[in-house]
């Protein structure tokens, strides 16, 4: 108890800053995710469509406008948009010929749309698929109406259904019935909806925890390199015990903030225990880095380097698949483990071993 009191007294004048740096991960995560959600819908793909005279493609244009990731410009002549495309002002360009509808009605299926893209078109394939499916819908409707009309002719000998009647009936039926859906989940996990590539708050929170842990534990560097340390030689409590108690009490304090953040930020899919072990691992890691750093500035520089290193390796892990025998390497990346919702067993074990050795060495020296 006395040790904790000493800790509290030694932090005099820094307590408020300490509190702020514990609260900041939550705030930063909220700010970044809300900026992301606020702006990400406004990032659009500029697509140009040329509709030549006589081409009746209203429903296709409507379908394109409905897709919220597309910023659509419609032209009636190809020259201007093509020039803009060549200057990389558009992602892609699609041309509906004057005889587009005629080709559709004649059931022609080859090259009925002309498309242009550049070597910098990031989303051409997605837009192409969308247009293809819209055209497919159109083709299907023509085919359907022809079939229904011949069917009526054959069975009733009448011919009073127009193309529009049939399309209307089709729309009614679409609304009344359940159409096929996709259910996506990973093997071994139950997840009902299809995966989204939205920003995971855990990712932001994980890195924010790392950065601000360096700011919280900078007193370790300061005190290790100061005169205070030498006084412990005359006390019954060793310097390392004191630091260990400081570490544990601060970690417990931070757990409070983690639990608050957990209820504010995370959904039920996240495991609180995983978040708490992540915090333990990160704190221990930062603690030792702070212990070994020569001064505050070099601690911060180390923090920055470690941050960038973790960011880069996480990025690498997401694109390069590790060879089969080496997949365990990924479990040493704390943030990656946190994001993929896995327990950090190796890392926790490693932390415990390092603490043990660290304390043990001290005892050996003293005896």
């Amino acid at each position: 108890m006395k040790v904790i009191l000493a800790r509290w007294l030694l932090l005099k004048g820094k307590r408020f800053k300490l509190l702020i740096s514990m609260l900041l991960p939550l705030i930063v995560t909220i700010v970044i995710t809300s900026i992301y959600h606020y702006t990400s819908d406004d990032f659009r793909v500029p697509v140009a469509v040329v509709v030549e005279e006589d081409a009746e493609v209203t429903s296709i244009i409507e379908g394109l406008k409905d897709a919220d990731y597309i910023k659509l410009d419609v032209y009636d002549d190809i020259n201007e948009p093509l020039r803009n495309l060549e200057q990389y002002q558009y992602d892609s360009l699609f041309v509906f010929d004057a005889d587009f509808n005629e080709k559709l009605q004649n059931n022609e299926r080859r090259n009925i749309i002309e498309s242009y893209y550049t070597d910098r078109s990031f989303t051409y394939d997605a837009v192409k698929e969308l247009i293809a499916s819209l055209v497919q819908e159109e083709v299907g409707q023509y085919r359907l109406s022809q079939q229904v009309q011949t069917l009526q002719e054959d069975w009733l000998g009448e011919n009073n259904l127009s193309f529009n009647d049939i399309v209307d009936t089709k729309k009614e039926i679409e609304e009344e019935t359940n159409l096929v859906n996709q259910k996506f989940n990973f093997q071994g996990q139950v997840m009902e909806e299809s995966p989204e590539s939205s920003l995971n708050p855990l990712l932001i929170y994980g890195y924010a925890v790392l950065i601000f842990a360096f700011f919280t534990f900078d007193f370790v560097t300061r005190e290790t390199n100061s005169e205070t340390k030498h006084r412990f030689l005359y006390l019954s409590v060793s310097y390392k015990t004191f630091m260990l108690v400081s570490f544990l009490s601060l970690t417990i304090l931070m757990y409070g903030f983690d639990i608050i953040s957990y209820f504010i930020l995370m959904d039920s899919k996240t495991n609180l225990l995983i978040l708490l072990t992540y915090r333990l691992v990160i704190n221990a890691f930062v603690f030792f880095t702070a212990f070994l750093s020569r001064n505050i500035l070099s601690l911060y520089v180390n923090a920055l380097l470690i941050f960038i290193l973790l960011l880069v390796t996480q990025f690498l892990l997401s694109i390069i698949r590790l060879p089969n025998g080496l997949t365990w390497l990924a479990s040493f990346h704390p943030v990656e483990e946190l994001v993929s919702n896995q327990h950090n067993i190796y890392l926790v074990a490693l932390v415990l071993i390092i603490f043990f050795i660290w304390l043990r060495r001290d005892n050996l020296v003293r005896s």
């Binding site: 498309s115 242009y116 499916s133 259910k183 093997q187």
Partner: protein, 413 residues
């Protein structure tokens, strides 16, 4: 003191700071290689990823299992044609298998995902009852699974479309009094027909690629990547040279009339000296490897653009440093500045994809201007450049630097 003496002293002080910074950099010889290699590693992997996404010919097929639990002929035909045809889904190879097989293959990392057509799939579909395609992804290959999920989305869009057409046909056939058997026959035939059409839907487009044919697509990624690397280098060098001068020494420097400006200028010059050689080396190497034809005056243009960019960036970092109350605030703000430069230069995502209300930023932002003209010259073979924005920015930040150093220098005396 006389003016020329003051100027002499200023230059001498700057010289001392430069010598000191260089000496400190030399002492950090161990971290320097790491500093230069790390960003390059990062960018190489980025380019590797993007060039795989952009170019269509992905060498590795993503393997997908198809599991049919439905006895219906319709589903059988559908699954068979899916596993035979690969047109619909470029880069995906599909194979039909039993559910036990599929689960085992995911365990052994042999397939990236499998799609299950549940029992009574076709029957439910035709009756308008709820029927779902279940996609099970391989947890070890999450990235690929998302690609598959979007491919399945396309597939489902086509199936839904055929489904509603066939339901409509069914509706009319009932109305017209067709017998059940005949109707089932008709619908089965029609479903298969529609589906085969869907599978060949990529012949709809007559596709043309337009480019300025000056350089290949990879060069674009390399130029953007290099821009990010150089910007990050500047920042990392700056951070390595940051130091907390004890207040005692600060007081002594003030007494000797050493101005803050000479310290800042010294920092600017020493970072410039340290960074220009690696930049020229990497730039020259990539121009040589990519085989970008550049005339001598264009090479000079590229170099001067880069020099302006570096100078402005260092001065900006320095301004943040001076204006921040503590080292940690300074580091965080500087990281944000670098992030801003990388994002709003358009190096990660081109300008055209940004929301319209952010578009104005690009016109006045030096980062975008430098990258844009680098691209124009290196990729599009232009022989001109406009550096108005860059020059104006440089002048503004230098004036700010002088003003702030003056104010800060005066405050405590």
């Amino acid at each position: 003191m006389r003016k020329d003496v003051l100027a002499m002293k200023f230059m001498k002080d700057t010289g001392v700071f430069i010598a000191n910074d260089i000496k400190r950099l030399k002492r950090k010889w161990l971290s320097l290689p790491l500093l230069f290699i790390l960003p390059i590693l990062f960018i190489v992997s980025l380019i590797f990823l993007l060039s795989n996404l952009v170019s269509e010919e992905t060498d590795v097929d993503i393997a997908i299992g198809l599991v049919n639990l439905d006895e219906n002929d319709m589903t059988k035909t559908l699954v068979d044609s899916l596993s035979e045809e690969t047109d619909l889904t470029k880069g995906l190879s599909m194979e039909s298998m039993s559910i036990e097989d599929a689960e085992e293959k995911i365990e052994h990392d042999k397939v990236s995902a499998f799609i299950v057509f549940p029992a009574n799939f076709a029957e439910n579909m035709m009756a308008g009852k709820k029927s779902d395609l279940e996609v099970t992804g391989n947890p070890k290959r999450q990235f690929e699974s998302y690609v598959i999920s979007s491919a399945v989305d396309t597939l489902i869009r086509h199936i839904r479309n055929s489904q509603s057409n066939i339901l409509t046909l069914n509706h009319y056939a009932k109305d017209f009094g067709m017998s059940d058997e005949e109707r089932h026959d008709l619908i089965f035939k029609e479903f298969v027909n529609q589906f085969i059409q869907v599978l060949s839907s990529d012949t709809l487009m007559d596709e043309d690629e337009k480019s300025q044919n000056f350089t290949s697509g990879n060069a674009y990624l390399v130029v953007n990547g290099l821009f990010i690397v150089f910007t990050v280098w500047v920042y990392m060098l700056y951070v390595l040279l940051m130091k907390d001068t004890p207040s005692g020494i600060q007081d002594r420097m003030k007494m000797l009339k050493v101005s803050l400006l000479s310290e800042g200028l010294g920092r600017l010059i020493s970072i410039f000296i340290a960074i220009i050689i690696p930049i020229l080396l990497v730039l020259g190497l990539s121009i040589y490897m990519l085989d970008i034809p550049l005339t001598l005056d264009n090479i000079l243009r590229v170099i001067s653009l880069l020099i302006l960019h570096i100078l402005i960036t260092v001065v900006l970092l320095n301004l943040v440093d001076w204006l921040s109350l503590s080292v940690r605030i300074s580091l965080i703000t500087q990281s944000l500045v670098i992030l801003f430069i990388v994002v709003f230069s358009g190096s990660l995502l081109p300008r055209i994809y940004f929301p319209t209300y952010l578009d104005k930023i690009f016109d006045y932002f030096y980062g975008y201007q430098s990258l844009n003209w680098l691209e124009e010259i290196m990729l599009n073979g232009r022989f001109t450049m406009e550096i108005d924005v860059l020059m104006v920015t440089l002048v503004i930040v230098i004036i700010l630097m002088i003003i702030i150093s003056y104010i800060k220098g005066r405050r405590f005396t």
